[in-house]
Amino acid sequence: MELFIQQLLNGLTVGSVYSLVALGLTLVYGILHIPNFAHGALYMMGGYVTLTAMTKAGLPYGLAVVVSMAAVGMLGVLMERLVFYPLRDAPPLHDKIAAIGILLFLEAFAQFVWGADYQTMPTPYGDVVSIFGLTLTVQRILIIASAVIIMILLYLFLKKTFIGASIIAMAQNREGANLVGINTNKVAMLTFFLSGSLAALAASLASPINLVFPGMGHLVILKAFVIIILGGMGSIPGAIVGGYILGFSESLGATYVSNDYKDIIAFAILVIILTVKPNGLFAKEGR
């Protein structure tokens, strides 16, 4: 039983990171209508910017995360302006190819600047605490708490403010958004900013547990794709629920099935869910 609860907590940690990444991916899907393959590169850049801000600039962890969120958010905006905006009237295939191009470019860039080595990110929250007989590091508590807080803030922003709602409106009907006076350019930039920030936050939270390296985004982004397909493309609750489903299944699967098969579980779930509900769990009708 104790092992089970311990694994649930692990699932919650991993799921929080997945959900943050998937949220950014799903938001941008609403704008581009293609999955942004470069999203994993934003995640990776987030890890490196936080690490550099800590080791080179000597910033404390918390501040480094904020700097990283701002910097990678701006990188997202740059991506939208320089690559996706000029392609707005091109066939969707061009967006996909461009996204892969950005991915390769950013990975080569990271390797050039920071090298190919695996690096560890120090955290001031490495202490182990014991609650109700469960042992976990403060970093894990931090991951869960900040992810939940950010998701609540994001939900309130999207649901309760005009600017936030304009993101949803644009995803549902771009021309309709234009015709009520929404500046779709600004909304697209804002969405890419949020998406980049969420990826940077996820990477900065996960890096002290995992490691920082140029390929760190690969598996995460593949799983984020699984999550948004599972949750329904473009669905925000779907991204959150999907992230946690994947987190729980992975950590429970690693314990009770085999640790070696941990990463296969995501894709097995994808196959099962798409067989039963081909449009995803939170499928939207009438697209």
Binding site: A165, S166, L179, V180
Partner: protein, 235 residues
Amino acid sequence: MLEVANVSVRYGSFAAIRDVTFSVKRGEIAVLLGANGAGKSTLFRTISGLHKPVQGEIRLNGERIDSLPPDRIVGRGVVQCAEGRKLFSRMSVYENLLMGAYVHRKDKDGIRRSLEYVYELFPILREKRNEPAGSLSGGQQQMLAIGRALMSRPAVLLLDEPSVGLAPLIVEQMFATIKQINQEGTTILLAEQNAHAALSIAHHGYVFENGTIVASGTAEELLANDDVRKAYIGG
């Protein structure tokens, strides 16, 4: 109030609109009559800034608006209720109406007043305010689309085929409501295939064929014009 002068629009090499000139006076209902594919929607999209004309000018109260982006044109008070309605189908009726007030988002009192006005005009929208827009019937969706456009407090309201796909009884109500909106101070430009119903509430009409205006006049003149009667009214 709204002037379209010598406007031409192309899709690649296809001239969708050729040298169109007309105007809508303050306080009136003007109607563009024409069959499917005559170019009415293209013209509306151009006025709203979704297409750029290759020549000509579009002016609102003497100021050019043809180079402005769509959101700024809405800000100036030229608001379109587009064909196909373009609603946010998974948002509630209330949220759709709120988004309609996007350009006035800082004016909370104004939004409340507009909302009350729209709910009085279309009581069914108040009843269904928490339902997703996509779950409404065709007629209700059309009401919501007009309501959402009214939320931006238009000086000129462009209505693109508001009667399309609606039952005859609903069409009649729709035209009565359009007339009421006009009498309460909104200038209206209406695009319609339903010539008889449209001319019965309009002041001026323009007949559109193959991307250009082939006849124009007051509503009475067009109703009495034999060619127009043959082509659009039947008999």
